[in-house]
Subunit: 363 residues, 2 copies
Amino acid sequence: MNEMLLLGPGPSNCPPSVLQALAQPTLGHLDPQFLELMEGLQEDLRSLFRTRNALTIAVSGTGTCGMEALLTNLIESGDRVVVCVNGVFGGRAAELLRRLGARVESVEELWGRPVDPEPVAVALAAERTKALFFVHAETSTGALSDAKALAALAHEHGALAIADCVTSLGGVPVLVDEWELDAVFSGTQKCLSVPPGLAPITLGPAALDALDERRSPPPSWYLDLDLVRHYWGPQRTYHHTAPVNMLYGLAAGLRLVREEGLEPRWARHQAAHDRLVSGLAELGLEILPPPGARLPMLNAVIIPDDVNEVDVRIGLRDRHRIEIGAGLGDLKGRVWRVGLMGENARPEVVDRFLAALAEELGR
Amino acid sequence: MNEMLLLGPGPSNCPPSVLQALAQPTLGHLDPQFLELMEGLQEDLRSLFRTRNALTIAVSGTGTCGMEALLTNLIESGDRVVVCVNGVFGGRAAELLRRLGARVESVEELWGRPVDPEPVAVALAAERTKALFFVHAETSTGALSDAKALAALAHEHGALAIADCVTSLGGVPVLVDEWELDAVFSGTQKCLSVPPGLAPITLGPAALDALDERRSPPPSWYLDLDLVRHYWGPQRTYHHTAPVNMLYGLAAGLRLVREEGLEPRWARHQAAHDRLVSGLAELGLEILPPPGARLPMLNAVIIPDDVNEVDVRIGLRDRHRIEIGAGLGDLKGRVWRVGLMGENARPEVVDRFLAALAEELGR
């Protein structure tokens, strides 16, 4: 494999210590050494999520699997759920919820904009609602929404606040306890710089109550959190075989996060973003979301009319060994998605990208 | 991590080339190099399953996730399914099927015995049945069932044959096309000696028809095979981010299987089993399943009445760095489960285990 600089929507490049951790000898999933690693990993995840939630673990699947773990456990057929849709991933949640038999009320927003709390409040007030689902950091548009305000709205109306923090976790503040987020999922391959394959999740007291109050078991056994938590908890009841080596990698990635500290890590992502925006401006390029709602780690760059967007991406890939992302859904052909995630949120990376882009654009 | 000799029910020890493959630099999940690796991986999986099925892929989760991928896609609410239960894993399938709203007819067999086709035929004949589910290699009891005969029975009654080959694949013949198995799932951490985290599956024409004929989409989006197959197929439609590094590991493991050849690999497992059985006999120990229905790679050893089974397992672990498995469910405290899977199906491994066991038993 020829190494690439991964500046797409994820995965990001993994540091050597994470890759080396993956290659450690596999242990049994009930081995005392491994169980100790899982304990430390849960502690590190709690610090990362800024939470004291006991049920803070890594689901054995990718970020979408984390979304499914939360929704399939917290929502039952007939439940009303308000879903904020301002990009691909809100739409994905709405689709899954419909499959689970939920009554879905979608609140649509222009792609590239953050979620507007006003229509959300109207939707919540209309009828008794089990949960509000929103995407904190929309990977398809680069928009950052106000998770604290949306969680407060949900609670005003007696609804659970469920947040997709796949792209935000580790790159911008995700303050689960302070913002009173009831259930949050993320992925490993974005700002944690760990390969894809695991989904960190955390559930607070109201979410645990929702698990306990289910009228019937969820339609999944693999993701049944009532069973999964007894494997991660002190009982260590066998459920499924944990992805041992992936968890080694996550533990190594979380160690790096802990050593750096969250505040410096957030600042590093912001600084890289600011440097990128300045450099893009010099090339006459702009970011789609409005100032104040821009994700530092995922930059949706508006493609100029006179540019063949595919040629630029292929040129970056073949001549510069840099991967960036294409637009998805409504934004296909309209934006490039430039990720500066985890290890890649560094000035030298930004400069390398800007130089390559300038060359490809002939500017 | 201190390395252990993993002679439990899986994971087994991974060869160095597999572990090193995991540590290769992460690529984007749509990178041409990675897509090429996925192509080769599908070809290798087809050889391993002895099938020409186009839809032969690795699901992004562990073996249980593979079970769920098949059942949640092939079975709908109201469908009648006959489930053979001769150990933990048949019971798990029955539980999941009930959650999916299926009408489950369980055919129970004594744990440690293979599935008896006679009562299965009676159950199939009783009513129109969508599918027969059985476990080819019961990891909880060490019993091998006759997959070919059971598949033929299913087809006689117009039912799909769905087989759990988690523990058998790569260690004993699993001849998907010759036996006309409609849908099969497996795991990576048994006879393939790849870390846990992926579930190889294959679906034949009748299973694909069942996907097409669904009355409603499955209650999972992550495991929706109609979407997943368009990511693995030539369209390469984004669905979820593949677990890139785990797939590197699987590709490396499958390369070793290809280089060894399946027939020699099956023979190696059988020879290791025969050596173990002889050695156990010298220690006065017996295997639970009857001759002819014994899995070579998973040996349920009957615990003598005068032995403290926990002490022996802890002694093996702490003094000899060997992990073996405890009994599950009905067999808790009655058997040890000794795995000789993949890399560990070798005479020197058997001899090391027998010497350690003799020491712990004081025989």
